[in-house]
């Protein structure tokens, strides 16, 4: 896992993405968060949303393991991060595709670009 020093905007955006995905998992797929957490914990020693923001490759690996099908796993990522796509259009889509490709830097950069304001608002609330 690449530990890099992150600015405050990035930290807030990544925390917002963690909240967003947890919330969508809880509401949209009851029980799945528990299962994904145990898979992530077993293999990477962290919870799944933590894995998403810190190690996208590991996150995708966990989803591939859970669904036992790469296509389904990728479709699920797009569903899970739909708010990012809706908020950012093409940039949002690039962020999601970067996540699917395991490119943490690009995922973070595009996510911050798209969600910075929204995440700050969420953080203040």
């Amino acid at each position: 896992m690449n530990e890099v020093s992150e600015d405050i905007d990035t930290k807030i955006v990544l925390a917002y993405i963690k909240y967003l995905t947890e919330d969508r998992l809880r509401k949209g797929a009851p029980g799945m968060l528990i299962a994904l957490n145990s898979l992530a914990m077993k293999k990477y020693g962290v919870y799944v949303t933590e894995l998403l923001v810190k190690n996208p490759k590991g996150f995708i690996d966990v989803l591939n393991t859970y669904f036992r099908n790469q296509d389904t796993a990728q479709r699920f990522v797009r569903y899970l991060l739909k708010p990012l796509i809706e908020a950012g259009g093409e940039d949002g889509r690039r962020a999601v595709e970067a996540l699917i490709n395991g490119d943490r830097a690009e995922f973070t950069a595009y996510s911050v670009k798209v969600l910075k304001d929204r995440a700050k608002k969420w953080f203040k609330s």
Partner: protein, 461 residues
């Protein structure tokens, strides 16, 4: 590609399922209250840990851990000891009226799986979750957390569901479609005896020769499944070994000789009795060919049989140790237990000859249920053919009517009726060959003093 199996730890069930549940599958165990769901599931976890060194997690929303451990100890399963060794983890799910309590229990369940590297799990029960979460949410939970969540970890699981008495469908009817296998447990009272049945409704990737099995729960053993012998093909009597009777009259009765493993039925109209004649006939075989005789009676005390045996054994100079007498009260046990006892006893003793006396008592005590009797009888008969046990079955009847089962399962049927001739009582034995090809003739038998017989062949027939 062969499927890896996860043994249930119930040997007969594993034999039936070709080794157990397919590994990584989720099996729904549903049943009426008290049908044995918890015991079966506990056995799966217990034997998995004890015999196969596979850690297991048991999540129960219904039973406190202390009660569960106490009940299971009485059934011969010491969970405490396995828990000390880190092989078992019991989670007492807190019953709350909110979904949050369920989620917390599920989280603890998944954490425990990771912690002890569990290979098998039980969730007891889907019904308890449904009562709090409703069936839609429960369905999602089961699918997402249990079915999809456990498969990647290669964990084999049992999901328990209540089957309300009188309800044909399982739980809310959704669990059946999510899981890989469905086992229904049922308990009924038949003739005053508790009868337990197991139905295997679905088991992906496994062929099931028998979908309905009897089972029992008993102290020290836990759960025992009664598995009928598994024979696709009907075994034939031996071509190599034949038994020629010691008198020409009996040779006429059976077409010259009997092949080893032959199955012969006597349908005897009361008050005639063929048992002394039969013992004499068989001891003649033993004197000539060696071997042992097992006499299993459902109507007579062993002392009486022993007396008859002694008389004839002396004549043929056969040691009494070659004859085993088994006297059983047919009302003492349910049919399936009696049937299993006979199978185990036949296999263990493996006598050369076997006599079943008063076999009609068995269906009679089952409220004249010849259908259930026939199913068990046929399976056991085929096993005896396979084991090469030459067997004589005596049915005592009150009239000349046939017994209501197909007689072509036997190689020879001999109908016996009492007949008065010149003021003396004779037995008239009329052979009906089913598979034997030799010439047969009826005979008359008169019992004399001192266990002697006067036998004459009926000519011109």
């Amino acid at each position: 590609m062969s499927i890896e199996m996860c043994p249930t730890g119930i040997d007969e069930l594993d034999e039936l399922l070709n080794g157990g549940f397919p590994r990584g599958d989720i099996i729904l165990v549903a049943g009426h209250p008290g049908a044995g769901k918890t015991t079966l599931s506990a056995k799966f976890i217990y034997e998995g840990a004890r015999r196969f060194n596979e850690p297991g997690v048991y999540l129960s929303f219904l039973e406190p851990k202390n009660d569960f451990y106490r009940f299971m100890r009485a059934l011969g399963m010491d969970f405490e000891e396995l828990e000390r060794r880190g092989l078992v983890y019991y989670i007492e799910g807190i019953q709350t009226s909110t979904f949050e309590g369920i989620e917390d229990a599920l989280k603890e369940f998944m954490d425990a799986i990771v912690k002890i590297n569990a290979k098998r799990v039980v969730m007891d029960s889907a019904t308890a979750i449904t009562q709090v979460a409703g069936f839609r949410l429960t369905r999602e939970l089961i699918k997402n957390a249990m079915v999809n969540g456990l498969k990647p970890l290669g964990i084999t699981g049992i999901l328990i569901s209540e089957l309300p008495i009188g309800t044909p469908s399982v739980g809310y009817g959704v669990e059946e479609f999510l899981v890989d296998g469905v086992i229904i447990l049922k308990s009924t009272i038949e003739n005053g005896v508790l009868v337990r049945k197991m139905e295997i409704r679905k088991m992906r990737g496994t062929s099931i020769p028998y979908a309905e099995l009897y089972f029992d729960i008993s102290p020290g053993v836990g759960i025992k499944v009664y598995l009928p012998p598994r024979m696709e093909e009907i075994p034939a009597p031996s071509e190599a070994q034949v038994y020629i009777p010691h008198t020409k009259e009996i040779r006429y009765l059976c077409g010259g000789y009997l092949r080893k493993g032959s199955q012969i039925a006597f349908i005897v109209r009361e008050p005639a009795s063929v048992l002394p004649l039969l013992i004499w006939w068989i001891l003649g075989y033993i004197a000539r060919y060696g071997g042992t005789l097992l006499i299993r009676t459902y109507s007579k005390p062993p002392q009486l049989i022993r007396q008859i045996v002694k008389t004839h054994a002396k004549k043929f100079n056969v040691e009494l140790s070659r004859i085993i007498i088994d006297s059983m009260n047919p009302t003492a046990r349910p049919l399936y237990i009696m049937s299993q006892y006979n199978r185990e006893s036949d296999t263990r003793i493996n006598p050369t000859f076997l006599v079943f006396d008063s076999l009609q008592q068995v269906p009679m005590v089952l409220n004249n249920n010849w259908d259930d009797f026939f199913r068990e009888h046929l399976n056991n008969l085929l096993l005896r053919r396979k084991l090469g046990i030459t067997t004589f079955y005596i049915y005592n009847v009150k009239s000349d009517e046939d017994i209501p089962i197909p007689l072509d399962i036997y190689d020879l049927v001999i109908k016996v009726r009492p007949e008065w001739r010149g003021g003396k009582l004779y037995l008239y034995l009329e052979p009906h060959p089913m598979t034997i090809v030799g010439t047969v003739k009826p005979i008359y038998v008169q019992y004399k003093e001192g266990g002697e017989f006067q036998i004459e062949v009926v000519r011109g027939q």
